[in-house]
């Protein structure tokens, strides 16, 4: 019985001391090694004539914050969308949970331990914050409509567990005060937080964040960065972070992959990427000049 929901276990996870996130360094060729949380192998994707991704290989280690940067239209979102099964790669494989997959079904993501946020807010405006976050736990529900309507003890207990779990995550992100408001009435920065909460509530192993700080004020960005970091520290999450703010990226990530026109042109630690001439040319060109 996979009753992962048992609040106790989750609470224990949340309360754990920070997991040592520094996984031993890996040689670049061990991309598909069993200890990566996720990997892409030679993934290509095109829309008509546009090559959004060209033969991209990419790995993500447990407990790692892995930034993906690149100019507009570089293929960053496409990468995340391929991983989440919304786009189907024309070629290549996705390694996840010890399996090598051509294509993922988006419906299967939560059970595979993958959660994501979207570049453009993808909340449910007609629901409260609490309901939005709780929606992130629907995939674990064991009791159907009839049990809920009959008010069976199991269904009630489940509802209580969900409520506890939502409150935990809300507390973690500091949005408890807004739980009962309609999410559409919140300011943009808070809505981004709610989307993060909805992803975290599922206790994923892999978290995909597509520009979680876009359009935020500096304070909000700092707050979001702190959340991303402490989520990793506390839960040992492997995180893919797409972000345009180079300052944030350099400070937050363990490794950075750089995409340009669908090609991965660099990959390494922040200092390595910062020094990389290709990156400077393709991406930081304006600033370097």
């Amino acid at each position: 019985m996979l009753s992962v929901l048992t609040g106790g276990l989750e609470a224990a996870r949340l309360a754990q001391p920070p997991i040592a996130a520094r996984v031993p360094e890996l040689a670049p060729e061990s991309i598909h090694a069993p200890h990566s949380a996720l990997a892409l192998e030679g993934v290509s994707l095109s829309f008509g004539g546009i090559h959004a991704l060209r033969d991209v290989s990419f790995d993500l280690r447990p407990g790692e914050i892995r930034a993906v940067i690149g100019p507009n239209g570089a293929g960053k979102s496409s990468l995340v969308n391929v991983i989440s099964g919304l786009y189907q790669a024309d070629a290549g494989y996705i390694h996840l949970g010890g399996r090598r997959l051509r294509h993922l079904r988006p419906e299967a993501l939560p059970k595979l331990g993958v959660a994501r946020t979207f570049q453009n807010l993808a909340l449910f405006p007609g629901l409260t914050v609490e309901q939005n976050v709780a929606a992130g736990l629907v995939f674990r529900r064991r009791h159907g409509l009839l049990a809920q309507l009959a008010g069976l003890p199991g269904a009630r207990a489940e509802a209580a567990e969900v409520a506890d779990r939502v409150r935990d995550v809300a507390g973690f992100l500091g949005i408890t005060a807004h739980l009962h408001r309609l999410v559409s009435t919140l300011p943009y920065g808070l809505q981004k937080q709610v989307e993060l909460a909805r992803a975290l509530v599922a206790s994923p192993k892999v978290l995909l964040l597509d520009e979680p700080m876009a359009g935020m004020t500096a304070t909000e960005k700092a707050e979001m960065a702190a959340h991303v970091r402490s989520a990793r520290d506390r839960l040992g999450l492997a995180t893919i972070l797409i972000e345009h703010d180079i300052g944030v990226v350099m400070g937050l990530s363990d490794r950075i992959a750089v995409l340009d026109h669908g090609v991965k042109i660099a990959d390494g630690t922040p200092p390595e990427v910062r020094r990389d001439p290709d990156v400077i040319r393709a991406y930081l060109g304006a600033e370097a000049a």
Binding site: G85, E107, P110, L123, A134, F139, R141, Q148, H180, A202
Partner: protein, 346 residues
């Protein structure tokens, strides 16, 4: 359950009902039967109840789950004719026949809801017309459904409960009101519980819902089945308590649009709005008729009034969409807020 229910404003009494709901219920169950004239019951309240229920069913599908259907009347017809046949051919008590009719409508609704798994938006809306035309055709074509009546006309049985004949207007009204109340409570429970989260998640952002593991396909099918089942019962009430003699042609596309209009005017995804919308739709033509009889002293003929009714109805829809997309329900909220402010100021 409290986790999922939207924050509720207003006092909640020990029963779990809010004060306004209790007032409406006691008016409906006690005051109306004592005071209302047969005309009010027959011409206003009985169609109002049946259409409210139909609106509620459609609102579940369209308002909460975001799937537009243009074929609601078909499910009313299925409900009415199924209940008629269950009653005729099995001799089971009427409530059992009604439950079986609801199940029949739900199953047929499920079948016609299958395209929703693949189609979206207008493609889906147009495909729901298939239900409208197919059901109407089948009920007219195969006289078995109407027990051999050539044009499909059926005469509803008298409702009997535990030896009690609910033949009078008041009797039928109370029967109808009881069913509508029960189903409204059920729908309220559904939409304010976890299933409501699923429905609205699918409506608001299907992709996000899918990615976080909301069972999108199942939710849509549940919505179609529940909605059709409820609309089916509305059809039973329409046939058994209101008109008592119905034919398939009465459940035509105009009826489907009427139900859709109830939902638009009342407000998408609100239960009380549905009742307000149904009230307006039922009362408005009567008022118009009265008004023209009074103002023009019967000089305007009935055909003309029907045309004016059509124009005003269409105009009202457009007006609501432009000026108050959240419908009468939102207007009521504003009014009651203003009223409360007035009362507080003294």
């Amino acid at each position: 359950m409290s986790v999922f229910s939207a924050s509720v404003t207003g006092a909640r009494l020990a029963t779990g009902f809010s004060l306004p709901v209790l007032v409406v219920l006691s008016l409906g169950f006690v005051a109306v039967p004592l005071t209302a004239s047969p005309y009010v019951l027959e011409a206003i309240l009985l169609p109002f109840l049946a259409l409210s229920l139909a609106g509620l069913g459609l609102n579940l599908l369209t308002g909460y789950c975001g799937q537009v259907s243009l074929g609601s009347a078909a499910f009313m017809a299925v409900g009415a004719f199924a209940a008629y046949n269950f009653d005729l051919r099995t001799g089971l008590p009427i409530p059992v026949s009604i439950v079986l009719a609801a199940l029949t409508a739900a199953v047929i609704g499920l079948v016609f809801g299958l395209p929703s798994l693949r189609l979206r938006g207008f493609y889906l809306a147009v495909s729901t017309l298939a239900a409208q035309f197919f059901v109407q055709w089948a009920l007219t074509k195969f006289s078995w459904f109407s027990n051999g009546s050539p044009s499909g006309i059926i005469a509803a049985p008298v409702i009997e409960l535990a030896g009690l004949r609910l033949d009078s207007a008041v009797g039928r009204y109370l029967f109808s009101l009881t069913i509508v109340t029960a189903i409204t409570l059920l729908v309220h429970r559904i939409v304010s519980g976890p299933e409501g989260v699923n429905l609205i998640a699918v409506r608001d952002n299907e992709t996000a819902a899918k990615v976080i593991g909301v069972p999108v396909l199942r939710t849509k099918l549940v919505a179609f089945a529940l909605s059709s089942g409820i609309i089916g019962i509305a059809g039973v009430l329409w046939a058994f308590t209101y008109l008592r003699t119905v034919e398939p042609a009465g459940f035509n596309l105009d009826r489907s649009f009427q139900i859709l209009f109830i939902v638009i005017i009342g407000g998408l995804a609100t239960i009380r709005g549905t009742f307000l919308g149904a009230g307006l739709i039922v009362v408005f033509p009567l008022l118009l008729g009265r008004l023209s009889a009074f103002a023009f002293d019967g000089l305007i003929d009935a055909g003309l009034i029907k045309l004016i009714e059509r124009i005003v109805l269409g105009g009202t829809i457009i007006l609501f969409l432009i000026a108050e997309p959240n419908g009468l329900s939102a207007i009521l909220s504003r009014l009651s807020a203003r009223l409360r402010a007035l009362v507080r100021r003294g």
